[in-house]
Structure formats: structure tokens, C-alpha cells
């Protein structure tokens, strides 16, 4: 049995140790906000927070997912996550939206660690999250919008 704590809820699952967290979340727990994009940690669509650290769930076996897992569904309850979501809406970041959950998870982890990151630090940190629609300029602007709000608050 595998025990996962997702967005504060405990789940006891009868799954193999080596099942990637992504598929446990999606297919077994049934939460669909975390997306499959590549399966090899190249695109970031599957990003969740594991004890606050942005983690690619597609290459993280459930046996290693000990502690607090937070998914995009839990971001509205996170003060920084909520600001990031609002900035995404204010700037119309999303096109198709498929990657944006992962982008928001990655951006939120960055902003929680570094509330006012340099532009280059944002670009470096977000380089692992692909967006085929090409919304990078708006993603960057949205992260800087949250960061500026932090600086002025």
C-alpha cells in the first residue's frame, strides 16, 4: 500500500512502488489537473509541489513521494498560488491551457522561494516548462506582475 497526501488529503492506494506519481494522481486518485506531456521530465506539464519543491511527477515514483504533495487543484488555497493564478488571468496568459497548470506550479514554487526574482532567474527557472502555443512572454510578464506586487506590498 502506498500512502499519498495530496492537497492535505490522505490517499491509501494499492499500486506498485514504482508507478510514477503522475499516473497515480491522474488514473488512480482521479485528479486531472496534473497533465501528461512527455513522461521524461522534459516539458513540465506534470509539475506538482513535493514538500514545496517543484517536482516532475512523471518521473517521481510514488515510493519517493513522501510528504506533502500539492497539485494545481490546491493552488487556490495557497496565497502565492492564488496571486499567480490571478496574474495569469489578468494578462490572458493561456492559449490552449494544457501546460499552464504546470507553468503555474513551477512559477509559484519559484516565487515562494524568491518573492522578487531577477528576470534572468525567472527565465532560467521556467526553461524546463514547455508551451507549444508560445505564451512565454506573457508567462514572464505574469510572474513579474506578482513579483512587483510583492515588492510594493
Amino acid at each position: 500500500m502506498i500512502n499519498l497526501t495530496i492537497n492535505g488529503q490522505q490517499h491509501e492506494l494499492d499500486i506498485p512502488d514504482n508507478m510514477p506519481l503522475l499516473w497515480a494522481i491522474r488514473d488512480v486518485v482521479g485528479m486531472k489537473g496534473t497533465k501528461f506531456g512527455c513522461g521524461i521530465a522534459q516539458c513540465g506539464a506534470c509539475t506538482v509541489h513535493l514538500n514545496g519543491v517543484a517536482t516532475r511527477s512523471c518521473v517521481t515514483p510514488v515510493s519517493a513521494a513522501t510528504g506533502e504533495i500539492t497539485t494545481i487543484e490546491g493552488m487556490a488555497d495557497d496565497p502565492v498560488g492564488k496571486k499567480v493564478q490571478q496574474a495569469w488571468l489578468d494578462l490572458g496568459v493561456a492559449q490552449c491551457g494544457y501546460c499552464q497548470g504546470g507553468q503555474i506550479m513551477n512559477a509559484t514554487a519559484l516565487l515562494k522561494r524568491t518573492p522578487e526574482p531577477e528576470t534572468q532567474a525567472i527565465v532560467d527557472e521556467m526553461a524546463g516548462n514547455l508551451c507549444r502555443c508560445g505564451t512565454y512572454n506573457r508567462i514572464l510578464a505574469a510572474i513579474e506582475r506578482v513579483s512587483t506586487e510583492e515588492a510594493s506590498s
Binding site: 486531472k32 522534459q42 487543484e73 490552449c96 491551457g97 526553461a127 514547455l130 512565454y136 512572454n137 514572464l140
Partner: protein, 776 residues
């Protein structure tokens, strides 16, 4: 997925009545000045020429509930272009709805009811803007009539305001919700009686809002799916969650046309969670939208299915693939380059090109290569199908609902009436999801599981190795210049496998619609022109990728025009403006283009003035001619496609190590009237970023018929560091021409503009894409 009551409250489908007191002949004069009369759509162009045509019945598209909630039924695929928001805004504006009370519901596949649903060709807004406005206007007039009747006053004394109808003389008012039942009793007004709102009364259509080149001056009406996307609630194909779902993946033949010789599934069946292994029949070539065949593994979750697939031992019959098993792109490129040295099928000719080339003071020649690419939407193909008692129900992210329905019906041998297709949000499409092969695959698997939903998931490796690939292309150009550097002749040979090879024996030549994507519609005013198309056979599945053959045509023509300017010793912008010649409208038929994206050439000719204006705007905004530091330069390209006009300028720097940094990109765009400028800007931004990948990174190569790239570690697409540091979109205010496309036309000139900037920065001419490590 449905979160509203879809009761039809505007239920009267009759068009018998003509509202009295309305001067029918003058009604459309009040319309926004870009509105075509519906009569134009009945011609064999535009929406009227599409399968299923157009529909403007308000009962089909607009539901008003008694609580005032307005539900817009969206008949086009939402794949990131924002059509669910933009078309709903058009309807809400004409109806007078409060945006906070507008919802969208996705139509199922039913072209008889909803009109054409095939979402490609950058057509959604230009084909549906008018019918949806008419539907909304009719609904508004029915609300007004209902109010007038209730108050016992003539209808001309009442007017719709935001979400209510008022009678100014008495100060009475009724909300849309209060009027919904009575309005549903009204007859739908005749088209001739419709009065569209004047421009001055519009709140959303054509209005700039949201993020404009770095600033938010006014909020954009909230995107229909925005909240769901940022909270993880949006339902894409793989997010459809049905009780008792089984999960499937398929091992497909590594070479197009190969078949399963034998399979040993004993290890696969031992994988925990694996339920069953099935052979899926392929179809003979040409394969159209049919499955490639292979071996399906069905399991209790996606990961188990993938692990089971890994454990399969399959022997493939490569002989069934014939020549495709020898397909190696390196050799193919050389063969096409060789073929490009000889004349081909003549597509367009004026003057004596050979003589003019011989007599030229300077001759410029170049051969350009663009590789295969995969569309690679972030959401790989996926579909859910359940078959119960001979009826199939599918949920899938598909651009072409009709073809999806046909594909399932044909695969199962049942009538289309017994196939229901629900269209989910698409996690990107870019042409890949125009082909519903993956839904038919799911149906083939679901056939074996009566009543049980099958979710068929493609991995990223499946997506990149078994795409409908963007055609590989070789374009060879020769130009003659006189002693003053003026162009006297232009000869262009284009070679690429045709998409039509999917559907019929390979013609080895481009079809009219493929040539019409910027090849014969080349806009330059040169005395002698000959355009040729030598043969090029297909060895993989060739398919649409955003803007399709415009990509290689624009890349070759726009690179070559720059090479001519360099040879002439002239400024690139000045030179291309001379090449374009005087402002004029070129009728498509005069250049041999009988297609014109399905649009009427009288309404959508090739307009040189519009081309010139985007060039001038992009270069002016970019500060064309300014000094740049060493290793840095400006590059320009422009293109006309999907009856819209685009010009792009890059400011790029190349380091000593060959790394490209893009300081700035300026894209100027003229699509005629703009329904939702905010989403037009986002499409231009996305086109620039995706085009950077075409220039610098993306390539699928084949060896012995097998794709050599398999995931985002080998098939490279742009990441945030590749994006321009500054990205500016300049929309041309042009409400007077007919509406053009938006999703694709920003894309074709991006790669050549960047390559021209690289030349300006380094003196190194890129003739083979992607740039890759050519600069190091």
C-alpha cells in the same frame, strides 16, 4: 462536462414571419461596415462552400435561461486560439448580454445542425462572425418583440440594453431572463429584417483590451475557460473521467505501411494491471485518417499499459512498407536538390525566364531546405470511446468532429447516426488533431470491451514518431538582376511530397491548394516569372501543420528576396518594396490560383498595398536602419496567407559560440476587421515563438523509414530562453476589407525573418533548416 441547463428556451425554428414595420431593404445598412450580406455567403466561397455550410438560427446557438444565464453554443474546436471566448463575445455584443452571465457550451459533432465544424484553415472567425451576429441579432429582436407585446407598445419604442429590454417612454424594463419564455414563443425574424447594431453600439467587437505590448490599459472580458485553466479544472481529452475506464496504448509499426508479423505478449500480460493485448489492423496505403495498426495493450491505468507495451516482443513485417523502409531524409534531400536542377511541371509563367536569366548582369541562385516537423501539441493525441449495443460514444480533442464521426462509423461498420462525438478542449492542435486516426484507434479497441470506456493515450514518443509530418521541402530559386540591381527574372522550383498522398495514389506533385499557399501567389512584380513543381514522392504520412506549405514557400521566397537585395547592394526593405511594385490588387486567377483559401478573389484579392503597409509598420516600429553592435542585426520577412498579411522584423544577436539571442521581434498584422484584438495579439505572439523553433530547432529525420527523434530531448521546440526579450504586435487598423484568418498567417514569415537577421548579424546565410549548430 456540462455545467448548465441546456433547455432550449428559444424554441421556435420557424422563419415564416417578417416583423412588421421594418424596412427590409435597408436593414443591413445599419450593420457594422465589414459585415457581408448573407447573400455573399451563399456563393461558392467562404462559409457557404464548406461541407455543412453555415447556420444562423438563433435556436441553434443561443439559449437564454429564465435566470438570465445566456449560453452560447460553440461549434468550433477550441485549441488555444480563444474561439470559445471570441465567438461568444460576438454573440454577446450583438445580443446585448452582460458578459458575466454568458457561458459557452461545446457542440457535439453534427454538421447538419451546427454547420461546418472542421476547425482548420484559420476560418472560424471569418466564416462564423456574420452568421453568429445574425443569430444574436435575431434573438435580441425576439426579446424586444416579447417585451413590446407584454407592454402593449410598438416594438420600435423598445430597445435592448445590457441584459434587459427597456421602454424609455414609460421607464419600464424587463431582464433577458424574464423575457426568455415569451421570446421563445416569437418567430425568428427573416434575415432581411435583421438589424445589426451600429459600430457605435458595440462593447466588445473590435475593441482593444488586455495586455497590449507590455501594458494592461483595460481588462479583457474574462476568457470563457480562463478560470478553469488556471485552477486545473478545464477538461481536455485525457481528463474525461468515466466510470470503469480501461486505459490503452498501442505499439505501432516503426515504418509507415509495415505490419505486425508476430507478437509475443506473455511478458506484457504479466505486468501488474495489464488486462488484455489485442492486434489492431492497419489499413493499406494511402492510409488517410485510418489507424496505422499494431498491438494494443489494455490495462487498469495508463502506466501499466505503457509498461505492458514495453514488454511486448513484436516482429514487424517491413516488406509490407515497400519503399518506405528505405526512406532516409539525408538521401532524400540530396535527391530533391538534384531534381531541382531540372525543369518541372510549369505552374505559372510570364515572359521568357531562361532568356532573361542568360542576359542578366547578375544572377542569384539558391536552394533552401526545410525538414519534416511534428506538430507536437502539448496534449498528445488521446481519445475515450465507449461502445454499447452497436452505438459508439466518443470524447476527444479533435479539430474535425465530422471526420471523427465518419472514421468511427466506418471502422465499426455502423451508421453515423449511431456515433456521438463530444468535443473536449484541445491541448493544442496545430493540424495534428485534424486527423482523427487516434479516435478510430480507440474505437477499434473499444469494440472488444462492450459497454466499457477505453481511454487510448498516445505517448510523446508515439506523437513524434507517428505524426502526420509536415512535408520536407526543397525550393530552388534563380533570379536575374540588371546592372542597376533590378530584378528582371524569377524562377522558382518547389519540391515536396503532397498531403494528397494520404488519400489517393501519390500524385508526387503539389495540389492546387498547396501551390496556392504562397507559391503561385508570390506577389513580386517581375517581368519574367516561371514557377515549376518537379515531382517528390511521399514516404511517410504527410499532413497539415499550422500554415502548411506556406512555411517552406515563405521561408524560401523571403530568404531569397533578401539574397537578391544583398546582391543588388540595396537595403532589404527598400528592395522588397520595389519588388512588390505599385499598389494594386492582383486577382488570384491571374496568377493561376483558383483556390484562395476558399474565399472569393473579388473580396480577397492579393492586395499589394496591404502587403506594403505591414512591411512599413513592422520596419518602422523596429527602427529599421538603426545601427546595431557587432554580431547583431535586423532581419525582415513578410507573407500573405489565409487572406491576411504579416510582416516580421527580428533584432537578433549571434554569440561567438553560435548561440542566438533574440532581443526583439516586431510583428505587424493585417487581417482586415478584428473581432477580438486581444486574442489576435496572443496568436501573433505564439506564431513568433513557434516560428523561432522552426528556424532554430525543430526537425524530424528518418533513417530506413524510422523517425530518429522521439521526445522533447531530441525533437526540440522553443523554451522560454528562446523567446524574444521584447515581443511587439502591431495590428493594422483596417475595418474596410473583408475579414481574414488569424491562427496561421502570423507563422510563415517568422523563420525567414530570423534567418535574415542572422545573416545581418553574421554574414552567414542559412539555407537549411533548422539552424541547429550551423553557427558554431
Amino acid at each position: 462536462m456540462s455545467r448548465f441547463n441546456d433547455t432550449l428556451l428559444l424554441a421556435n425554428v420557424s422563419r415564416r414571419g417578417i416583423l412588421k414595420g421594418m424596412a427590409a431593404g435597408s436593414a443591413l445598412l445599419l450593420a457594422a461596415r465589414w459585415d457581408l450580406s448573407w447573400a455573399n455567403e451563399q456563393a461558392q466561397f467562404g462559409a457557404g462552400a464548406m461541407p455543412g455550410g453555415w447556420v444562423d438560427d438563433p435556436n441553434v446557438f443561443i439559449h437564454i435561461n429564465t435566470d438570465g444565464i445566456v449560453t452560447f453554443i460553440n461549434n468550433r474546436a477550441e485549441m488555444g486560439q480563444g474561439i470559445r471566448t471570441s465567438l461568444a463575445m460576438v454573440a454577446a455584443d450583438e445580443l446585448g448580454a452582460d458578459w458575466e452571465q454568458v457561458r459557452a457550451q461545446q457542440a457535439n459533432a453534427d454538421q447538419e445542425k451546427y454547420g461546418n465544424q472542421n476547425t482548420d484553415g484559420s476560418r472560424s472567425m471569418r466564416h462564423w462572425y456574420d452568421p453568429i451576429r445574425r443569430a444574436a441579432a435575431a434573438a435580441r429582436m425576439m426579446l424586444e418583440q416579447a417585451a413590446a407585446n407584454q407592454w402593449g407598445v410598438p416594438v420600435h419604442e423598445v430597445q435592448a440594453e445590457v441584459h434587459k429590454v427597456v421602454h424609455p417612454a414609460s421607464g419600464r424594463e424587463l431582464g433577458f431572463g424574464e423575457l426568455a419564455n415569451a421570446a421563445s414563443e416569437r418567430e425568428v425574424p427573416n434575415r432581411e429584417a435583421l438589424v445589426l447594431k451600429p459600430d457605435s453600439a458595440l462593447r466588445f467587437i473590435g475593441k482593444e483590451s488586455g495586455l497590449i505590448n507590455g501594458d494592461v490599459k483595460s481588462a479583457h472580458p474574462k476568457a470563457i475557460d480562463g478560470e478553469d485553466i488556471v485552477t486545473g479544472k478545464a477538461v481536455f481529452g485525457a481528463d474525461v473521467d468515466l466510470e470503469g475506464t480501461l486505459y490503452a496504448v498501442i505499439a505501432r509499426p516503426p515504418v509507415y505501411g509495415a505490419k505486425v508479423k508476430s507478437v509475443d505478449d506473455s511478458d506484457a500480460l504479466n505486468v501488474t494491471g495489464v488486462n488484455r493485448v489485442l492486434r489492431i489492423e492497419g489499413t493499406d496505403q494511402p492510409g488517410a485518417f485510418n489507424p496505422l495498426g499494431g498491438v494494443a495493450v489494455v490495462a487498469s491505468n495508463t502506466w501499466a499499459a505503457m509498461e505492458g507495451r514495453r514488454a511486448l516482443k513484436i516482429e514487424w513485417d517491413l516488406e509490407a512498407a515497400g519503399d518506405n523502409a528505405n526512406y532516409t531524409t539525408d538521401a532524400y534531400r540530396k535527391a530533391l536538390e538534384e531534381a531541382a536542377q531540372s525543369p518541372g511541371k510549369v505552374i505559372r509563367q510570364s515572359g521568357d525566364v531562361d532568356k532573361a536569366l542568360e542576359e542578366a548582369a547578375t544572377r542569384v541562385s539558391a536552394t533552401y531546405y526545410m525538414p519534416h516537423m511534428a506538430q507536437a501539441p502539448m496534449e498528445p493525441p488521446v481519445a475515450v470511446v465507449r461502445i454499447t449495443e452497436g452505438k459508439a460514444e466518443a470524447w476527444a480533442p479533435i479539430q474535425n468532429p465530422r471526420a471523427t464521426r465518419e472514421g468511427i462509423a466506418a471502422a465499426l461498420g455502423i451508421d453515423q447516426e449511431n456515433v456521438t462525438v463530444h468535443q473536449t478542449l484541445l491541448g493544442g492542435g496545430f493540424g495534428r488533431k485534424s486527423k482523427p486516426d487516434f479516435v478510430t484507434e480507440a474505437a477499434r479497441v473499444a469494440q472488444h470491451f462492450e459497454g466499457q470506456p477505453i481511454k487510448l493515450q498516445w505517448s510523446r514518443e508515439d506523437d513524434i514518431q507517428h505524426a502526420y509530418f509536415h512535408a520536407v521541402s526543397v525550393d530552388h530559386l534563380d533570379a536575374g538582376l540588371d546592372s542597376g540591381g533590378n530584378a528582371t527574372s524569377w524562377r522558382h522550383r518547389t519540391l515536396s511530397p503532397s498531403i494528397t498522398s494520404l488519400f489517393a495514389p501519390d500524385p508526387e506533385h503539389k495540389a492546387e491548394f498547396e501551390l496556392g499557399m504562397g507559391f503561385n501567389t508570390m506577389p513580386f512584380n517581375i517581368p519574367s516569372i516561371r514557377l515549376e513543381n518537379p515531382p517528390a514522392p511521399a514516404h511517410v504520412r504527410i499532413g497539415w501543420f499550422r500554415s502548411v506549405y506556406n512555411l517552406p514557400h515563405a521561408w524560401a521566397i523571403q530568404s531569397f528576396a533578401h539574397e537578391m537585395a544583398v546582391a543588388a547592394g540595396k537595403d532589404h526593405r527598400d528592395y522588397v518594396l520595389e519588388l512588390l511594385g505599385p499598389d494594386r490588387q492582383v486577382h488570384n486567377l491571374t496568377v493561376g490560383d483558383g483556390w484562395n483559401y476558399g474565399e472569393d478573389p473579388d473580396l480577397h484579392p492579393i492586395d499589394i498595398a496591404r502587403m506594403r503597409r505591414v512591411i512599413e509598420r513592422a520596419t518602422d516600429e523596429a527602427g529599421w536602419g538603426r545601427e546595431t553592435s557587432s554580431g547583431r542585426g535586423l532581419g525582415l520577412a513578410f507573407h500573405h496567407s489565409f487572406v491576411s498579411y504579416t510582416a516580421v522584423v527580428f533584432d537578433a544577436e549571434v554569440s561567438d559560440e553560435g548561440e542566438v539571442t533574440i532581443h526583439r521581434a516586431d510583428i505587424a498584422f493585417d487581417c482586415g476587421p478584428q473581432a477580438n484584438p486581444e486574442r489576435i495579439r496572443s496568436q501573433m505572439e505564439g506564431s513568433v515563438v513557434m516560428g523561432i523553433g522552426v528556424a532554430l530547432q525543430s526537425e524530424v529525420t528518418f533513417k530506413d523509414g524510422v523517425a530518429q527523434q522521439s521526445n522533447f530531448d531530441s525533437y526540440l521546440i522553443p523554451r522560454m530562453p528562446n523567446a524574444p526579450k521584447v515581443l511587439r504586435v502591431h495590428l493594422i487598423d483596417n475595418p474596410n476589407d473583408a475579414m481574414g484568418g488569424v491562427g496561421e498567417p502570423g507563422f510563415p514569415p517568422v523563420a525567414p525573418a530570423l534567418c535574415n537577421a542572422i545573416y545581418a548579424a553574421t554574414g552567414k546565410r542559412i539555407r537549411r533548416l533548422p539552424v541547429g549548430n550551423q553557427l558554431s
